[in-house]
């Protein structure tokens, strides 16, 4: 039986975040990367009971702090002041990354420059000459969680697919991505295949013509 579905319109950024949020299992421990993935937290419901991890050393992170709640000792990985929820905990950096590397987090959601059909991820460095490299927690996040999901636009500004046969940008992690959420399609990478779970504002045939890897309807 096919699970493939399609809609007429592309997904907005909020709709992408909504789709990711809906796919997060209830009770999961989750790390949301900086940028688009952060928006996912706005669509998690309290019934889901998801606990957010921030790699600078906290579980049970709450929404961004405003007004009197701003405390410079309580920030997220993007150095933005946040709040703590009941049941929160603090720990040092080595524990925080051990928790990640040790496979204790259920899902990590990241942005990407490119993902290969084998699930290789590039998101830390463009490799451009003269660029100062900075990696932060990108490599730890990529390979640490039980599942790594990517949110990205499927095409570059010049129209090239960011889902590729092999990365041309420097690798962040090998074979780590299992799902990709884009404005025009949601992909699942499993059994050495790239499945299209849904297409948005594009037919499967047109999508296949624009993406240089073999696609299969989920």
């Amino acid at each position: 039986m096919s699970n493939y579905s399609s809609t007429q319109e592309k997904l907005s950024r909020d709709e992408m975040a909504q789709k990711v949020a809906a796919d997060i299992p209830s009770g999961a421990f989750v790390n949301l990367g900086i940028g688009q993935p952060t928006n996912v937290s706005n669509f998690l419901t309290s019934e889901q009971g998801v606990t957010l991890h921030t790699e600078n050393g906290m579980l049970g992170m709450g929404p961004v702090a405003t007004g009197e709640d701003i405390d410079e000792d309580l920030i997220n990985a993007g150095k933005i002041p946040v709040t703590e929820l009941p049941g929160a905990s603090f720990f040092h950096h080595a524990d925080s990354f051990a928790m990640m590397r040790g496979g204790h987090l259920d899902v990590c959601v990241l942005g990407a420059f490119q993902v290969s059909e084998a699930g290789d991820l590039a998101n830390w460095h463009t490799g451009a000459e003269g660029a100062i490299p900075a990696v932060g927690g990108a490599m730890d996040l990529a390979i640490g969680a039980k599942q790594t999901w990517v949110m990205m636009s499927l095409f570059t500004k010049s129209g090239e697919s960011k889902l590729v046969e092999a990365l041309s940008y420097p690798v962040t992690g090998l074979g780590c991505v299992s799902r990709i959420y884009t404005e025009v399609a949601i992909f699942e990478l499993r059994d050495s295949k790239v499945f299209v779970r849904s297409a948005h504002g594009i037919s499967f045939e047109e999508l296949q013509s624009k993406v240089p890897v073999e696609l299969t309807k989920a």
Partner: protein, 223 residues
């Protein structure tokens, strides 16, 4: 031995000599020992190797040490930020060496140093540019990279409170690198809001046991 209680930030850092390796705590402003860094600036020590998550921000603290070319090498995970102009300039001029380390490997290398571990195989960075030239191994079908400890001469740390035995408690996400850096340096220098008498911190709540702490200075709170 109970730690030395320094009379000022300048007194606390007075033993830091040219060529030292210095771990500096903090992630963003949280847990950054700003007064100790300012004192290090004043004391004149140069040719330093600094370990921090970042490479200084704006026109303060570590950024000024870099601006004044007092840092010959930085080991960090994320040097490039919108306000890291002093690092950017020193790097482009070839005046500072950069050892870029994934954040979790940076933390674990510091932890390993404090725990007497000679090296460890980590999956983070396997197959990437940052593993080039390093020993790798496949264990149970998964690739790993050998990473080595980062030992240091000094650590500069900020905690909330110390007792006279050097036991430390931290505050919220300002804890970050403090506990592991305290273990990895020959001398851990800690700035706190307040030093209390031994017995006034609940032993169940102590995060850094005093055995790791060499010098404490009370600078009062900002709040």
């Amino acid at each position: 031995m109970a730690p030395r209680i320094a009379s000022s930030a300048a007194d606390a850092v007075a033993e830091i000599k040219d060529g030292s390796t210095v771990l500096i705590g903090g992630f963003g402003n949280a847990g950054q020992p700003m007064e100790l860094i300012d004192a290090l600036m004043e004391c004149g020590a140069t040719d330093l190797t600094v370990v921090n998550n970042n490479a200084g921000q704006a026109d303060a603290g570590l950024a000024l040490l870099i601006k004044e070319r007092r840092v010959k090498k930085i080991i960090c995970s994320f040097p490039r930020q919108s306000d890291s102009w002093h690092f950017d300039e020193a790097y482009r001029a070839g005046d500072i060496e950069l050892e870029l380390v994934p954040q979790g490997n940076l933390a674990e290398r510091i932890r390993a140093a404090g725990a007497g571990i000679g090296g460890f195989f980590t999956p983070t960075g396997y197959g990437t540019l940052l593993a080039e030239g390093k020993e790798t191994r496949v264990i149970d079908g998964k690739g790993y990279v050998l990473e080595t400890p980062i030992n240091a001469d000094f650590a500069l740390i900020k905690a909330l409170k110390a007792d006279t035995m050097g036991n430390l408690v931290y505050r919220k996400t300002a804890r970050n690198f403090g506990p592991i850096m305290a273990t990895a340096a020959k001398q851990a220098i800690v700035q706190v809001d307040e030093v209390v008498e031994a017995g006034n911190l609940d032993p169940e709540n102590v995060i850094t046991p005093g055995i790791y702490v060499d010098t404490v200075v009370a600078l009062g709170g900002n709040k």
